[in-house]
């Protein structure tokens, strides 16, 4: 699933390791989510949304909705 995580992270000037630490996951997890090759679970998606003060839909792009 496509997402804006890399852009949002860059705006905050965070490294993948910084974001991983705040989420309580590994850096590999953040990388896999950013590349769109691993879809996070709903609880992790909510954690990401809270961290960036956004909704899940603003971070993740649902390809089927268009």
């Amino acid at each position: 699933m496509k997402n804006r995580l890399r852009v949002l992270r860059a705006e905050k000037n965070w490294s993948q390791a910084d974001l991983a630490q705040q989420l309580g996951v590994s850096r590999q997890s953040v990388n896999a989510i950013e590349t769109g090759k691993f879809d996070p679970s709903l609880p992790l998606a909510f954690r990401l949304a809270r961290l960036f003060d956004m909704t899940i839909e603003q971070i993740f792009i649902d390809d089927d909705s268009s």
């Binding site: 309580g24 996951v25 590994s26 590999q28 997890s29 990388n31 590349t35 691993f38 996070p40």
Partner: protein
């Protein structure tokens, strides 16, 4: 686990090291005892079970680790790796069993004891982890 340093992974490594040490010691002792005990009755079963129990423990430790690991990506990699390892073991043991039937001469030359199956699973599991993780890069 592969390149991970979560609290659950550290606990898993420590527990596995403990269980593996037990397997090695118990296996050595049970092989050594074979020459001493009479090879019949309950003693043989107990000797065979001695190194087997830590193997159950290792599999249980892996299950506990999967339950304790909070990182869902690592969990996904581990589950996929264990499936690959199981596939390799099932494919190889089936192939080898058929080879024993079709070409008994090979079995006489390369007699592989069944206890190598678990070792094969562990090696396959270790090899599969970086390969599975590479798919996500």
């Amino acid at each position: 686990m592969y390149c991970t340093n979560t609290a659950a992974a550290r606990r898993y490594r420590a527990r596995t090291l403990f269980a593996t040490t037990h397997i090695s010691c118990r296996f050595g002792v049970s092989l050594g005892c074979l020459d001493i005990v009479i090879r019949r009755g309950a003693a043989v079963y107990l000797l065979a079970l001695a190194p087997e129990l830590p193997i159950f423990a290792i599999l249980a430790i892996f299950g506990i680790y999967l339950a304790e690991e909070k990182d869902e990506f690592i969990r996904a990699v581990l589950v996929q790796s264990s499936l690959w390892a199981t596939c390799v073991v099932l494919a190889f043991t089936t192939f080898w069993s058929l080879l024993q039937i079709y070409a008994p001469a090979i079995d006489l030359v390369l007699k592989v004891p069944m206890y190598w199956v678990f070792v094969l699973w562990c090696v396959s599991f270790a090899v599969a982890q970086p390969l599975v993780q590479r798919r996500y890069k």
